[in-house]
Amino acid sequence: MNFDFSDEQKQLREEARRFLADRCPSTAVRAVLEGPEPYDKALWKGLAEMGFLGAAIPEEYGGVGLGHLELCVIAEELGRVVAPVPMASSIYLAAEFLMAAGSDAQKAKWLPKLASGEAIGTFALPEGVGKVTEAGINASVSGGKLSGTKVPVADGDVADLAVVVARSGGRVGLFLVDLTGPGVRREVVDSIDPSRSQARIVFDGAPAEPLGSPGEGWRIAADVMDRAAVLVAFEQVGGADRALEMGRDYALDRMAFGRQIGSFQAVKHMLADMYVAATLARSNAYYGAWALSTGSPELPVAAATARVSATDAFQHCAKNNIQVHGGMGFTWAFDCHLYYRRSNALALSLGSKSTWEDLLIDRLRNRNESPAAA
């Protein structure tokens, strides 16, 4: 049994960690959080040059052609440093949609640009407050023109391409829309984590071409969201680990009542519980990575498991990291809030935790009821 990453994949992790330590210190995250730039363009270019954006994109489409385990490793490292780049939107979602359902022409047109960072993609699904359901999709395509409003769209202000879920002829389908073209109006919306931007996009007769078979849209979206959930889970696991380390380091440094605060059981036990949550989430994320990389029919269960567990762990570690830091943790100057913000933004990014809990139970039930169940 080898339920672990290979030595080569672990080397890639070290390479990514060194690169990000150099190119993505927390000052870089703060520059995006506080400044006018919607993402760190220099870092994005660097990630492309390192081959990280194209890790799971085939060589024939301009990628590096490694695989999804390698992308998981990179995602974990990006999560550790709460990188301010549109990785999830462009790579875990847009590129995965193209690979899952794109025609040869669509793949040839967009994947090389996504792999090189020349173009940014995103996925436009929700249309306002509330859980997203197939019946609740109002955006519609008629005669090749898309109309409707999507909000929030992660990185929608900077993306060149959107995969849009919309209704057409009574069926829900997926459509590719060039966001730099006509019929697209977009504006930045404030969010709890300005280190990754959010937008409202109003489509008013924007040219839209179908992606995948009509009527298959919801199924394809569910499959790609599962794939993205595993990758985001690795970002969350990386973030949870880093928040735990920050709390541990502070508990070792900070003195109160004449002793290190990390010698008080109330603090130690909080940190131990953070370790427990992070460990469970890591093991579940590995399960997701295995299912993703092997094309296992267990992916729906594994992805929902990884997603719920990683969301729990990152939120748990990020909030308790602030608690360990006490008042200092609530200052703008300390980095704790970068992780607190990101943990809560990621918890919502692919649909809320309760949505994924629901999915998990449905899928466990289907697996139990299926006669082929292991």
Partner: protein, 418 residues
């Protein structure tokens, strides 16, 4: 990344599977599958006799204590082969519960500290289940603070070199069935507590040993008190030097943490099935949003434990030592099981309280879980001690300030009320 056996592992698995297929007590399988939170289930049969019979059969064919050297009754197998055996033995492994303390803790301690003659005398009969062993560590005044134990060992005045034991142990699993035990005692109260301890092994039929079962909070009696009144132990049954008992006990306790891959039960599969079958006035319980959310939370804990175990097994498969992540197992499983049991009874409304013909078998299991789970959170290291271990050994946080560290044992206060 995969769950596949290496060719050598697959070969070993095939041999193990074939032997189990041909030799396991199949007639017990249905009952054993229902074993759970209240011990091994073999219907109306005698569990001790059946356990000993299965262990003897395994030992004769070289399948007992796989990781022990052959000369001591083992097979000289690798750690991963031991895990594979456990997977293949499946429900029949429940019959080994009686021997866990001996095989998992007493055996490794003897292997590290006993004389060669004693090892050859004692270990093979321990492996074959002929003799059952217990571990006499905890005391009324020394549980989490084990080194605070008070059972005295004093050298006899007759010049024999024998030791005379007086005192009391508690929470001794299986003492009522045990032939032998390992015993930690205080030999010097005038030095700090960790320095005045000495370890022995003894015959549980020695005059002056009295075993009294404890009636537990759940009504069962798996644990015992053991009283020692002028019990005589020859000096050649001492394990390690006089005053070295703490170091010897760490050998035992380290081995307690090496039982990898067995997987602590959480009760999740039982709860999931129960929620599928339980009908409420709005349909099956599993359709209820609140139920689904709780189930999902338990699901990811159970899954996280399972795949944490897989990571440890993978390390063994590569010949590496598993990382510290296994220390979370009992901490997560114990608390999950307790919470889950309360939730399962809550689903039944007022009827959750009753146990009898009106209740399903599943419901009775949750009640047994509810009443047994407090012990899981205490035995073999309380939740709080486990959190300390994670904080100190994994995260590198400082140890507690120990006010009794440099104080002679006899001067440590024994009551919180002055």
């Amino acid at each position: 990344m995969n769950f596949d056996d290496t060719p050598q592992e697959a070969e070993f698995r095939a041999v193990a599977r074939a032997w189990i297929e041909a030799n396991a007590p199949k007639e017990l399988e249905a009952d054993l599958k229902k074993s759970g939170f209240a011990g091994v289930n073999v219907g109306n049969r005698d569990p001790l006799q059946l356990s000993k019979a299965w262990q003897k059969k395994k030992a004769e064919a070289g399948w007992a204590c796989l990781h022990w050297p052959q000369e001591y009754g083992g097979r000289g197998a690798s750690p991963i082969e031991r895990v594979i055996w456990g997977q293949e033995e499946g429900v029949f492994g429940a019959l080994s519960g009686t021997f866990i303390i001996g095989h998992g803790m007493c055996g490794p301690t003897l292997m590290a500290w006993a004389s060669e003659e004693h090892k050859r005398q004692l270990l093979p009969t321990m492996a074959s289940g002929e003799h059952i062993w217990c571990q006499l560590f905890s005391e009324p005044a020394g549980g989490s603070d084990l080194a605070g134990l008070r059972t005295r060992a004093e050298q006899a005045s007759d010049g024999s070199g024998d030791w005379i034991i007086n005192g009391q142990k508690i929470w001794t699993s299986g003492a009522q069935h045990s032939d032998y035990g390992i015993l930690i005692t205080r030999t010097d109260p005038n030095v700090p507590k960790h320095k005045g301890l000495t370890m022995f092994w003894l015959d549980m039929k020695s005059p002056g040993v009295e075993v009294r079962p404890i009636k537990q909070a759940n009504g069962q009696s798996g644990f015992n008190e053991v009283y020692f009144t002028d019990v005589r132990i020859p000096d050649n049954q001492r394990l390690g030097a006089v005053g070295q008992g703490w170091t010897v006990s760490l050998t035992t306790l380290m081995n307690e943490r090496l039982s990898i891959g067995s997987g602590m039960p959480t009760g999740f599969p039982e709860l999931f099935d129960y929620c599928m079958s339980l009908q409420t006035q709005d349909g099956p319980a599993i359709d209820d949003a609140a139920v689904r959310s709780r189930l999902a939370q338990y699901a990811v804990k159970a899954s996280g434990l399972k795949y944490t175990g897989m990571r440890a097994i993978s390390a063994l498969s590569k010949g590496e030592t598993p990382g510290p992540e296994n220390s979370i197992g009992k901490l997560v499983a114990g608390a999950t099981m307790q919470d889950l049991a309360m939730f399962a009874l809550d689903l039944q409304g007022q009827a959750g309280v009753i146990n009898g013909p009106d209740q399903t078998e599943a419901s009775s299991r949750f009640q047994a879980m509810l009443l047994r789970s407090p012990a899981t959170r205490v035995e073999g290291g309380t939740d709080e001690i486990l959190r300390n271990i994670i904080a100190e050994r994994v995260l590198g946080l400082p140890g507690d300030i120990r006010v009794d560290k440099d104080v002679a044992f006899k001067d440590i206060p024994t009551s919180g009320r002055a």
